[in-house]
């Protein structure tokens, strides 16, 4: 083959195109980014160098967050909106500005998945708070549930994306965390429903509860369907962790099974190529060890904030993770590589769940202590959004998402 032919073959061998969808998505992100980060040249003459040195020393997401929350809305409005509930005047600011802006900072599939889970948690916390204040109506319930479904679907889509991008560990982590969060909130909703005497609110919260259960169940089925595609992973499905399970609520069990299927795919990925390699075992062992360490540190830190009655749940999950890890070490020493791999994977999942449970229950306790329902602003309330060269007053009560976004866009320009 002569030189020219070889050069031609090199071009053909590396002929790859950026998928259209990814190309458009990245372009949209960049368009938003450059709007948030205008050229500073003119400003530079107005501020001292130390002002910019400070910002330059910050990481880009921090700069973005500062711009988004401080410049666009003024810290007060954005902050006030954070504590609102569906039906409050500032609630659209929370949903369409604060959360959307935070969403643009999540650039990887994993961070997008985690942010979607965080948003799902916010909706669940809002539903609980509304029901406890007898404010959960058909309308607000519908709003919360429809957003909740979107966030859950987004988290699952990102997990799937990670899986297809060969990040099985990240995918399993997001899936396990989502199921753990949903199951933890399931018990929170159940408890809240027992304390509510108002029939309508009780019915509404039970409807949220059944929505959560349906989501857990659909995730379970979806994951099972996926797992069926992999014959190797399929065999792992029958593994059900025994000790400490009996006390768990039925929904939690179902959620855990869903997560188990997802993590079994993680193990399955290593097995696909045949025998479990020593390298695969090392990677999985390290991932599980790291996850247990992180979970232990976080749980110890959060322990004082976790209600007494929930601590045993968290402890049991972490103990099960450690026990699976120890068993994995024993199996490995005895030469059962496949069993060892499955147990490392199980340890990984249990550690993620333990940490998520601790986080949910500590937040729940904090909210119970400090978070009161934010009062509805009086009718006719309005928000003032200011920028250096423009000032706008919009009546949020009558405005939808488009109106808010248009105003912000105008200010940005």
């Amino acid at each position: 083959m002569n030189d020219n032919e070889l050069k031609k073959r090199i071009r053909q061998a590396s002929n790859i195109k950026l998928p259209e969808e990814a190309r458009d998505r990245t372009r949209a992100i960049l368009e938003r980014y450059i709007e948030m980060m205008p050229i500073q040249k003119a400003l530079a003459t107005e501020y001292s160098p130390s002002f910019f040195a400070f910002f330059a020393s910050l990481r880009r997401p921090v700069v973005l967050a500062s711009i988004a929350t401080v410049v666009l809305l003024g810290g007060g409005t954005a902050y006030a909106a954070e504590n609102t509930l569906p039906g409050d005047i500032l609630y659209p600011v929370k949903i369409h500005i604060n959360e959307e802006v935070r969403g643009t900072l999540a650039t990887s599939a994993k961070s997008r998945g985690e942010w979607a889970i965080a948003r799902a948690e916010r909706r669940l916390a809002e539903a609980t708070a509304l029901a406890q204040a007898s404010r959960l109506s058909d309308e607000t319930n519908g709003e919360v549930q429809s957003r909740l479904k979107e966030h859950i679907a987004e988290a699952r889509a990102q997990a799937k994306r990670m899986e297809s991008g060969r990040d099985a560990e990240g995918s399993a982590e997001v899936t396990a965390r989502l199921t753990a969060i949903l199951s933890a909130h399931e018990s929170v909703l159940l408890e809240a429903s027992t304390g509510i005497t108002d029939t309508n609110s009780r019915e509404q919260i039970l409807s949220v509860l059944s929505g959560v259960r349906a989501s857990i169940s659909s995730g379970d089925h979806g994951a099972r369907a996926d797992a069926a595609l992999s014959a190797k992973a399929k065999s792992n499905r029958e593994e059900v962790h025994g000790a400490g399970e009996s006390s768990r609520a039925a929904g939690e069990r179902s959620a855990a099974d869903g997560a188990q299927v997802a993590t079994s795919k993680l193990a399955g990925q290593d097995e696909r190529e045949g025998d479990v390699s020593e390298a695969a075992l090392r990677v999985r062992a390290e991932a599980a060890r790291r996850r247990i360490e992180i979970a232990t540190e976080d749980i110890l830190r959060l322990l004082p904030e976790i209600p007494e009655e929930k601590r045993s749940l968290v402890d049991a999950r972490l103990a099960a993770a450690r026990s699976a890890f120890d068993k994995a070490l024993r199996e490995r020493a005895e030469g059962s590589a496949k069993e060892s791999l499955m147990l490392y994977t199980e340890a990984f999942r249990l550690a993620v769940e333990a940490r998520a449970l601790a986080q949910v229950h500590s937040r729940e306790s904090n909210e119970a202590n400090t978070n009161e329902i934010s009062p509805n602003m009086e009718n006719g309330g309005s928000i003032k959004i200011e920028s250096a060269d423009d000032s706008s007053v919009i009546d949020v009560r009558d405005k939808d998402r488009d109106a808010i976004e248009n105003t912000v866009e105008r200010i940005l320009r």
Binding site: M1, D3, L6, K7, R9, I10, R11, Q12, A13, S14, N15, I16, K17, L18, P19, A22, R23, T26, R27, I29, L30, E31, Y33, I34, M37, P38, I39, Q40, K41, A42, L43, A44, R60, T107, S108, A109, R161, M162, G165, R166, D167
Partner: protein, 184 residues
């Protein structure tokens, strides 16, 4: 005035650069990392970092070179954190199937695959430079600026890299082996 019209001009030329070079940067990142999602992240980071540079009032004259330099540095960072897999991994995942080389017959396709494997076996030292030279069509001077080497070194590596590639691609025939050994 100044600032808003300047902002608009810069915005337009920045987005035009994205439209023109997004594919090349993604391809380079993907060939280096073998991980579509990482390649997409590198693409995004390349452009946000470039915009950060522009916002300081600095001008980018040669977009292609500049973008490749940023992308190359990001890839080096990525390598420091995690060793990438291989071009074979992309093939196993059927990634090339989304963009086949149309019009090639089975024999030519097999040749392309052999070249792909040969590129994969090249040491990084040569691989990056060969890809920048023949896939992206950059000259030795431009490559030298991107990878931070002297132009002369780049030219030598292109030459040696092609020799290596040829050796990997065209296995030594039994009848020429003794002759070749005599030279080595």
């Amino acid at each position: 005035m100044g600032n808003s019209s300047e902002n608009k001009d810069m915005r337009e030329s920045f987005l035009a650069a994205y439209d023109e070079y997004a594919n090349a940067i993604y391809r380079f990142a993907l060939l280096k990392t073998s991980h579509p999602e990482t390649a997409e992240d590198i693409l995004q980071d390349t452009f946000t970092k470039t915009w950060d540079y522009c916002t300081g009032g600095k001008e980018v004259r040669e977009w292609k070179q500049f973008l490749f330099r940023v992308a190359y540095n990001l890839i080096v960072d990525y390598y420091r954190k995690k060793k990438a897999t291989s071009l074979d991994a992309l093939e196993e995942e059927g990634f090339y199937a989304t963009d086949p080389n149309p019009g090639l017959n089975a024999e030519e396709m097999a040749e392309v695959q052999r070249v792909r494997k040969a590129i994969n076996e090249l040491p990084d030292l040569y691989r990056d430079i060969i890809l920048l030279r023949y896939t992206e069509g950059l000259g030795p001077k431009e490559i030298a600026e991107i990878v931070g080497l002297a132009e002369n070194t780049v030219s030598v590596r292109i030459h040696r890299g092609m020799d290596r590639l040829r050796k990997i691609y065209e296995p030594v025939r039994p009848d020429s082996k003794t002759e070749r050994n005599a030279y080595e």
